[in-house]
């Protein structure tokens, strides 16, 4: 937007103040009626990996090795996120024996977003909605036959999800 400020120096004084902020009431009332009969069905929640600020470090913590790119992974994400708070991202792959899928967003404060364990009999397809703080690549890691593969796509974020 261009304002013809140069020709009207007087107007410079009337600079814009902070925008009025409409109070945004957050809801999010959650019921906790159920008993915590939590089946520790699988291995533990990878707390350490979820705190990493660096993608390589997060992947190393999670898997203990690095991934190589694969064209057998289809990563579907928008080119421009309509809002970084809710970015729909999905993945499917023709790789065999998939045992886990992880989503990494390097520009988020915590780079590891989600880690899905895929038992036998479950298809290697996942769709979810992630927060993105700013424009970033999104990398998906697929664990297949004991090896790690990856695919990456850039998502432009103009309104940040301040999340991560």
């Amino acid at each position: 937007m261009t304002a013809p400020d140069d020709s009207f120096p007087v107007t410079r004084r009337l600079v814009l103040r902070g925008a009025g902020s409409v109070a945004l009431a957050g809801l999010g009332i959650v019921s906790f009626r159920a008993t915590p009969a939590f089946a520790a069905a699988n291995d533990k929640y990878p707390e350490g990996a979820f705190k990493q600020k660096d993608s390589k470090e997060a992947i190393k913590q999670l898997y203990g090795r690095t991934a190589e790119p694969s064209d057998k992974i289809k990563l579907d994400a928008p080119e421009i996120a309509e809002n970084g708070a809710v970015v729909p991202i999905s993945v499917s792959t023709s790789l065999a024996d998939v045992s886990s899928i992880a989503f990494v967003v390097p520009e988020n404060p915590n780079v590891l977003a989600a880690y899905y364990k895929i038992p036998q009999g479950t298809l290697p397809n996942v769709a979810n909605r992630l927060k993105m703080a700013k424009t970033s690549t999104v990398t998906v890691i697929v664990e297949s036959g004991g090896k790690l593969f990856s695919a990456t796509k850039e998502v432009k974020v103009t309104v940040g999800g301040c999340g991560g």
């Binding site: 159920a34 939590f38 989600a114 899905y116 009999g121 479950t122 769709a127 979810n128 991560g164």
Partner: protein, 103 residues
């Protein structure tokens, strides 16, 4: 109070497609409130789906999963009318569990 968990699980041939939406703030801990103070992190860490007592999908989540999180997956071996048990636990130790009929 209604459950925090919504599930649509539909059999199509030999696979069952499961979509879930959970009511949860998923606060990342990086956002400030109106007074400029950080809202403490509050997010689901683990979400488990069980069919016949067997886990068919386990999600481990960090702070970057959106508010009122959504996830979709598909698995094989279920029949119409089977139970699908869904449970989550968050970083504050709060949990919810609900069981749904596969359609």
């Amino acid at each position: 109070m209604a459950s925090s968990i919504r599930v649509r699980a539909i059999v199509n041939g030999e696979t069952t497609e499961v979509q879930t939406l959970i009511q949860h703030p998923m606060d990342s801990g990086f956002i400030k409130d109106d007074k400029g103070e950080f809202i403490p992190a509050h997010f689901i860490q683990e979400l488990t789906f069980e069919h016949n007592g067997r886990p068919v999908f386990v999600a481990d989540w960090g702070t970057a999963v959106s508010k009122d999180p959504y996830v979709k997956f598909a698995f094989k071996g279920a029949n119409k009318g089977d139970d699908l048990k869904v449970s989550w636990i968050d970083n504050k130790g709060e949990t919810d569990t609900a069981t749904f009929k596969i359609q």
